[in-house]
Structures are given as C-alpha cells and as structure tokens.
Point group: C2
Chain length 205, copies 2
Amino acid sequence: MTVTVLLVDDHPVVRSGLRAVLETDDVHVVGEAATGEEALALAGHLHPDVVLCDLRLGEGIDGIRTTAALRALDPAPAVLILTTFDRDAEIRGAIEAGAAGYLLKDVDPERILDGIRRAAAGGMVLAPDLAARLLEGLRSPLPKLTGRETEVLRLLATGAANREIARTLFVTEATVKSHLAHIFTKLDVDSRSRAIHVAREAGLI
Amino acid sequence: MTVTVLLVDDHPVVRSGLRAVLETDDVHVVGEAATGEEALALAGHLHPDVVLCDLRLGEGIDGIRTTAALRALDPAPAVLILTTFDRDAEIRGAIEAGAAGYLLKDVDPERILDGIRRAAAGGMVLAPDLAARLLEGLRSPLPKLTGRETEVLRLLATGAANREIARTLFVTEATVKSHLAHIFTKLDVDSRSRAIHVAREAGLI
DNA sequence: CCGCGGGTCATCCTTTCGGTGGAGACGGAG
DNA sequence: CTCCGTCTCCACCGAAAGGATGACCCGCGG
C-alpha cells in the first residue's frame, strides 16, 4: 500500500530535495505546490493521502490557513507541517487547524518518511521536545489579546513611544496606556521591552 | 569545463534538493557537509571550485567564519552564500569574509546554477535588491559597537531593566546608563525599544 | 433589560529612563 | 610619552513610562 504525498513549499530547492528523499517503495510524491492556493487546487483533484506543508509560504495565504482549508476537503488529506521555525503560536495554530503533526526541517529524512507513514495511518506526529513544550503550554495558555491590543503590541515592537502609537491609532495617550496595561497584565511583564521580548518568543508578533 | 561544487547545509533535505537540482552537464557536486568543520575538512582535499554554503549551520561555527577559513585555503574555493535570511549584518559579514556572492533560498534553481558558474569564473554574485541595499549601507555604515555595548544590547533585547543589566554585568546602574547612551547615539535612537528594533533589523543581535 | 467585554479617556502618583556634563583608570597605538 | 578608546562611575534634571482607579459608550448574548 503506497502513500501518496503532495509537497507544499515556496522553495523550489526544498521541494526537489523532499521529492528526492521521500520517493521510496511505499511513498509516492504525486505533486508539488509553491503556494497555499496551488496546494488547495492540486489537493482537490489529486486526493493525496498526506500533504507535507511548510508554514511560511511567501506572499499568499500562510500554512495554517492552508491546513484548515485542506482539512475541509472531502476526502481530507492528513496534513504534516514541516518547517524551519518552532514558534509556539505557530505550532499551536497548526495543530488547532487540524494538522496531524509538526516536524522541523533539520531532522533527517528517515523521520520525515516515518512521519508521513504515521500521518497516513491517521496518527499524530510530534517531535518529543515539541510535544513537551506544547503540553507545558496547555498549563500556561497563550494569552489572547484583543484586536486593538495586538495593534498596539505591533507598534510597540517597532519601538514606537506611547505618543506615536496614539497618533498612529488616532486615540489619546491615555488609551494607549490603558491598552498597554492590559497587555502587560496578560503577558505578565512590567515593561515595554520585556513585553516585546515575550511576544516575540511566543510568536505573537 | 565542469565546475566542482561542495554543498554545506545543516539540513539533509536541502542538500539533497541542491544536489538534484545542480547536477548538470557543467556542474558537478563532489561533496556535502552538514557543519563548518566538515566543510573545511572536505574542501581541504576535494579542492572544489565553488563551495555553496548556508550561513546558519546549527551548533558549530557559523557560515561567516567558515567562509573566512575556506578562503584561507590554498587553492581557495569561491564561496557562494545561499541562505534564507537577509540580515544586513550577515550579508556584509559574508562579503567581508571573502564570499563571492549571496543568494536567497527562494530563488529558482537556474539562478543558483548561474551564480555557481559566475563564482567559479571569479565573478561576484548578488541579487539586485541585495546589492542596492548593500550600497546604501555603505553610505550609512553599520555602527560598530564595543564588546561591552554589545553585551548590554543583548540584555536589553531580552527586556531587562537597567538594574537587571547592571546586576548581570556586575557594574553599577550608572555604567549601564552610560553604555546605553553610547548605544543610543550610535544607533541614532532615543529609546530602548527602538534600539531593540533597529538592532534586530540591522542584524546586530 | 442587564451584564459583560472591548474600546475609549481621565487623574494622581511613583519609578524608570534618557540627556547632559563630567571624571578617573587602564591599555594599546603612534 | 601622550593620545585615544574603552570601561567605569557620579550627580542632576526633565520626560516618559508604569500602576491604581474610576468612568463612559457601545454592541452582543443571556
């Protein structure tokens, strides 16, 4: 029983590498896509068992949204995320969107093949350290910022002062301070620079 | 006249992809290395015409130091940097270390082949937009921070307050303020969060 | 209808930061 | 030897940031 795979990555080199490395007796690469849009179109009529998908896909829709859309297909392929970064928010987003697993690109090919087989069989695939981090994360869940708070946080990360943030968002400085106070509480910090730091680490920005 | 190439990348998948994509009539991949150390050892007796090298190489020495060491060999291979990130400081470092060029991983294979041929012929290879950025950079050169200033900047980027930085470095808060004032002047900013931002953009941290 | 979350704004107060200007110690380059 | 860069430290001051608390408006769901 061979497993059919669709590759999704915006780097041609990586696609070639994956194809070369994955093509085996029981795994067959049936297609490649460079963007999320392409991936959806191809998956729609190729009906692969597994989609191996990067999270960062350049210009178009990102890997998480792509994953969600793929899982909405019928029949739905298993989606295995293969990416370079290990930001908590991204991993969680991918899992919540219905991904069957999450692998880092620096693993050796055997692991990827193994992951594909397990994903095709309906299993979950998670690097042990990632799994541990994720479980820990469930204990201290990522704070949910409101839309406005996220805007403020983004401006904050560019080094903007309260007055600049206020002018940019067309509100008073008092409002900005209010949002910041909420952000600080949610992130459990007490200074703008530390807020920037934890937000980056958590992948919130 | 075929060009011999040594691949250096810590991702097996990328190496396979590059091998598959580069192997042509006039380009021959003679070896692969996963670390800088390996690359130096292999280059020492394989004498490749061109070394295609990632900048981020996991645990060991980085791509820039590897480049410098490669260029010190005799005969010295041309070194072509192929990486995912485009931080100004890294590009400059690579060029200063003697790299013949700098390509981003999302380019298509033809460009890479082209770059290899040009590098082998002794030419320079730079993506047009990178070249433009680099020239612009020559006008406003990257500020050179002293060792101590860099330490302070790194701590700053973690969100540490002056007092924490002082305790960590075993100096008084006054000293930290002094360093910060110098950093601010050199980076042309007036707040810690903005300093963090421009330092990140310039690739100083 | 009322509660609640989100967004807006305000006041008061303390702490931290950033700017200015200076100074002593040390070590290497000229 | 002297100059200069680096690192260290100090004092003073105004500006910015952060904490506490309260208030208003609005839309949505119970």
